[in-house]
Structures are given as C-alpha cells and as structure tokens.
C-alpha cells in the first residue's frame, strides 16, 4: 500500500495522459489535470501557510535571532488574509470584487507589492555588472569565446560600436560591430539555442519515462524494498 499503490497511480496516470494526445475524445484530459492541480494546490497551501506560521511563531517564542521581524511577517500574513478573505477595508460588502478600487487589498498591492517586486527585480542591473566583471575573464578557450561574444554584443548596443568600426567599407558591412552583433544573435546564437532545446526535449522524455515506469522513485522512498 505504501509503495505499490503510488507506483501504480504514477504509471496509469502518466500513460493515460501520453496516449490522450493522440485520441481526440480524450484531448481535454491535459486541461482537466491543470484544474485538478490548482485545487490540490489550494489544499496544500494549508500545509505551506501553516508551516510559515509555525516557523515564525517558533522563532518568536524561542526568541531566536531576529525574532522581532517574525512579528511583522505574522501580522502581515493575517492582515492580508483579513483584507482578502473577509474583505476588510473593501468599500463594498463580502461579495465585492477583491481588487475593487480603493480596497485595502488593492492599495497594498499597488503601493507595497509593486515597488517591492520591481525593486528586487531591478537589483539585476547591479548583479549583471558584478557577474560580468568576475565571469568574463579569458581563463580558457571557452571563457574567451564567452567573453568575446558578450563584448561584441555590448559594444553593438552603444554608439561606440558604430564609431569603432565605421571605417569598414559597406561591402563588408557585416563586419561592422552593430551588424556583427546582429549576425551573432541570428546565427551562432540560434544554433546554440536549438541544440540546447533539442537536448532538453530528449532529457524530459527520458526522465518522464523513468518516473512513469517507476525506475526513478526517490520521491517515494529511496532504494529500499
């Protein structure tokens, strides 16, 4: 029951979904799975949200390092639940739209979520710089190629690129940096992407088969019998 049933479920569900693609009356099965999945995810959230609370409550009661911030997290979590589930701070009643104009839920989304998310995202501007400083060094042939490709593209994105190679006659215009940058994007870049994508496709096929056939079963409990 503990190992056998799950393996059978995986096998049956996986096989049926593979064949459903080729059988028109079953073509909606994949979509239905997405529906199932969404519902299971809601139930699972009780475990996830519960865990979040447990972690922070433990931190708080045991006065672990930085326990003060756990208060903020817990309060924030319940505050959002109150605004969302009971529509507190919503100009309408319980049946009102969650994202109604002027509701606390939406206000928090606009003034807390959006700035937080986009600033976190914007940190990439800095990390892109620090990563290229460290990584683009001509340590070996592969790294040198990586460096040159990146440098040409970067140069092509600034007016410098045009000035540096503007002297190249038009009959060899492909060698001018901005054109070269485009050529790299269109040819070798495309080739590399394709090889990676075909490889990924095969990797997925093989791993899925291992899971469906029950050869890969670490998620159910290692190698023991």
């Amino acid at each position: 029951m503990k190992r056998g049933v799950p393996l059978i479920i995986t096998f049956v569900v996986g096989t049926v979904l593979i064949f459903s693609v080729f059988i028109p009356p079953m073509e909606n099965l994949g979509e239905n799975f997405t529906l199932f999945f969404d519902i299971i995810a809601v139930f699972a959230f009780f475990l996830g949200g519960g865990n979040l609370l447990r972690v922070h409550l433990t931190k708080l009661t045991r006065r672990k390092r930085d326990w003060e911030y756990s208060i903020v997290t817990i309060v924030g979590f319940f505050f959002m639940l109150a605004c969302g589930l009971f529509k507190i701070g919503n100009p309408g009643d319980i049946s009102a739209s969650l994202t109604a104009e002027g509701s606390w839920f939406q206000t928090i989304y606009d003034n807390v979520f959006v700035p937080l998310g986009s600033t976190m995202y914007a940190l990439l501007a800095f990390f892109v710089a620090s990563a290229s400083y460290r990584a683009f060094r001509a340590k070996n042939r592969e790294a040198t190629i990586l460096l040159i490709a990146a440098f040409i593209i970067l140069l092509g994105r600034t007016p410098l690129g045009t000035f540096v190679t503007g002297w190249i006659p038009d009959s060899f215009s492909v060698l001018q940096i901005p054109n070269l940058a485009i050529w790299i994007m269109n040819s070798p870049n495309l080739a590399g992407q394709r090889a990676i994508m075909i490889g990924i496709g095969l990797g997925v096929v093989s791993m899925s088969l291992r899971l469906i056939l029950g050869i890969e079963r670490t998620y159910l409990g290692g190698e023991d019998k």
Binding site: V21, F22, I23, P24, P25, E27, N28, T34, F37, A41, A44, F46, L47, G48, G49, N51, L52, V55, D66, F113, L116, G117, M120, Y121, L123, L124, F127, V128, A131, S132, R134, A135, F136, Q193, I196, M197, I198, G199, I200, G201, L202, G203, V204, V205, S206, M207, S208, L209, R210, L211, L213, I215, E216, T218, Y219, L220, G221, G222, E223, D224
Partner: protein
C-alpha cells in the same frame, strides 16, 4: 427555405451612386464537411467567392455565415472579410445536424448562396495527423526502455563524465568539513513543471549523501506542494541511510509563492547563514542571477541547472558548475550510478542521433533541391519535412 438571389453580374466599372442598389452575384458551391481528427465538435465550410468579389474594384464588402441547427431557423454566426472562402465552426455537438449558407454583402444589397446539406460532426478515435509524432516518440521511448532492460541484464554501459555532477560529492563534503549548511533551491515553479520534478529527483540523491555525512541541509521553497514532496524525499533518504531519527521536517520550509518575495527571503538566508554549498536546480526566471550572485558573494560553491535557455547564461557566469538543459534531467540517473538508470541516458542518445540524421539529410537534400531541383529529391525532402511537422 433560403431562396438564393439570382443576379446578373454587371461590369465592374459601372459603379453608381450609393442610392442605387449595387447588385452582386452570390457566393457559390458551399460545401460543409467534417473537420478531421477532433472530438466531433467542429465542421469546416468552404465556398467559391462571389464573382463580384474582385481584388480591384470589387463590390463585395463582407460575407456573413448563417447556420441552421437541426433544421431550425438560420442564425448569423460569423462575419468575414472579402476574399474569404472557408470557415471553421467550432464548439458544436456531435448529436446535432448543421446546415449553412453564405451571404455576400455589398454596401446596400446582399446575395445568398444555396444552403448546404445538413451534417453532423464526426468523432474520430485516433488523430492520424499526429502519426509521425507518435512513431518517432515510440522509437525514442522504445530505445530508452531497451537500454534500461539491457542494463538490467548486466551489460556494462559507458557514460561520459559530467563535471557539474562529479562535483556534487565534493561540494557536500566541503559543507560537512566546514560545519556549514547546504542550501537547496528547487526553482520557483510548482510540481506541475518537469524541471521541478528533475530537482526533486536530484534532491533524492543529494539528501542521501547528506544523510550519510550527517550534514545540515536547508531548503526554503516557494510552493506548498514542493514542500510536501521535498520532505517526503529527504525523509526517504534518511530512512534508507538508516538514520530516520536524524530527519526533521524543519529542513524544508515554505516561504511565499511570490517570486521576488521568495527571492528576498532566500537572499537573506544566504547572507545570514553563509551556506558552504548552494544547489540552484529547477525552473528559474529573472531571479537566477540575483540568487547566484548573492550566493557567490558569501563564498559558497554553487551547482546550478535549469532547462530555461534564457537563464543559463547567468548561471554559467555566476556559478561554479552549471548543468545545461539536458544534463539537468540526466543528473539524477547519473548520480544514482545504477545501470538501469544510466541505460536511459543511452536511449536519449538514440534520439539525438535521429535528430542529427534528420537535420543532416534535410539540409543536404534541400540544398540540392534549391540548386538543382530534381523531383525525387524534392519528394524525399517533402517527406522528411512532413514527418517533423506537427499539425493539430
């Protein structure tokens, strides 16, 4: 029921003022047929456009499609632009009879076609459009299974070294020596993404080593289901290492579903706990570089892998080892070292062989066809292209 207008077409240049009725010829020969390889829910209607629907100076401004269900009143279901000659009607029922007619409209008059015969959409049981897809998938799947079986029978199979995976043991050992934690980030997608599944299968191997070495593992996740699956996996590893009591649910904890909220928290964990080893395996988006750079700044050894081509460059730049696409999915099999698992990797190579052969032949033949244009070669080429074209 529908009386088609009989109109004598006039020469196109006799355009008159709008007050005079512009007479146009009706569309002709409407034919309705079953749309192939569906669940009995669509039909396809074709017709010959009105002879007044000319590219230049034509008088037809639009076509209206009318449908009658089970002999009932005909209702307008679509408006199409001039030049249209077919329409696919979807979301129908296989137990209803449908008949159609097409009306051409000028600026102030209309002309209707005959009504088509009444038919029902047919349900097909097998989608023959996908037959080549099925066969090639079958060949690759069969070769994967074949090599798995061969390996089971004890035949030795060679698999080349993958640097990123050779480093796993060493990376875990390093954390053990330094007495620091191992951070395992399984991407930000849920269990309905194959990359997350790949991450969980790798977690199975990693946590087994972790259990043997008695190292600390820490795994903040962005999805509740991933938390459940990860706990199950780590617990199983500790059981098979014979140390179930060393396992603790707190090794895995849920943070938030929000992409950058999760990233903010993981960044915090990295700088505060200074893990010795970080695994970044699974589905990553823009956060890939934020995590990898922060991890690098605390001096951790980082092993990353994803199947998202857009994020691979950032992992390559900021991590010590990167599993590129296919290697991510092969990782668990490779790490297990079991012959039957390695066999599946050999099966993948057959797929690569097929892809390479098709590309080689295809490029060769189409180049010859483009230059010389011989019929046989064009035929073979068309066949290869058809095999690899997926139509629905």
């Amino acid at each position: 029921m529908v009386v088609p207008a009989r109109a004598v077409p006039e020469p196109a240049d006799s355009l008159k003022a709008d007050s005079v009725e512009i007479i146009i010829a009706p569309p002709t020969s409407p034919v309705v047929s079953d749309f192939k390889y569906d669940d009995g829910n669509s039909l396809i209607l074709t017709w010959v456009p009105s002879i007044d629907d000319l590219p230049v100076g034509g008088k037809v401004l639009s076509y209206h499609i009318f449908r009658s269900d089970n002999g009932g009143e005909a209702k307008k279901i679509a408006e199409l632009i001039p030049g249209a000659n077919y329409y696919k009607d979807e979301d129908l029922y296989s137990d209803t009879n449908y008949a159609y007619h097409v009306v051409a409209l000028s600026s102030n008059s209309r002309a209707a076609s005959f009504q088509t015969a009444s038919i029902r959409p047919q349900r097909e049981w097998v989608n023959l459009n996908l037959k080549y897809l099925f066969f090639i998938a079958l060949i690759i799947a069969a070769s994967v299974i074949y090599f798995i079986e061969t390996a089971k029978r004890g035949k030795k199979l060679f698999v080349r070294k993958i640097a990123g995976l050779e480093a796993v043991d060493e990376a875990i050992g390093r954390a053990t020596e330094m007495g620091r934690t191992i951070l395992f980030i399984p991407g930000i997608h849920d269990m309905d993404d194959v990359q997350t599944l790949a991450a969980i299968t790798i977690l199975g191997r990693v946590s087994r080593v972790v259990a043997d070495y008695d190292t600390k593992i820490r795994m903040p996740v962005a999805r509740s289901l991933v938390m459940t699956a990860a706990r199950e996996t780590i617990k199983a590893s500790y059981m098979s290492a014979g140390r179930p009591d060393a396992y603790n649910d707190d090794m895995v904890n849920y943070v938030t579903d929000e992409q950058f909220g999760y990233v903010a928290a993981v960044d915090g964990i990295m700088v505060r706990e200074k893990p010795a080893t970080i695994f970044l395996l699974g589905a990553f988006f823009a956060e890939s570089l934020i995590l990898a750079e922060t991890g690098n700044s605390v001096g951790a050894i980082q092993i990353a892998g994803t199947a998202r081509p857009a994020q691979l460059p950032f992992f390559i730049a900021a991590c010590d080892f990167t599993l590129i696409g296919e290697e991510l999915f092969a990782a668990s099999a490779y790490l297990s070292g079991e012959p039957k698992q390695l066999g599946s990797l050999k099966g993948q190579d057959v797929g690569k062989g097929i892809a390479m052969l098709a590309i080689l032949l295809g490029v060769l033949l189409s180049t010859i066809a483009a230059v010389g244009d011989t019929e046989t070669i064009t035929d073979i080429l068309n066949f290869i292209t058809r095999v690899f074209t997926v139509t629905n």
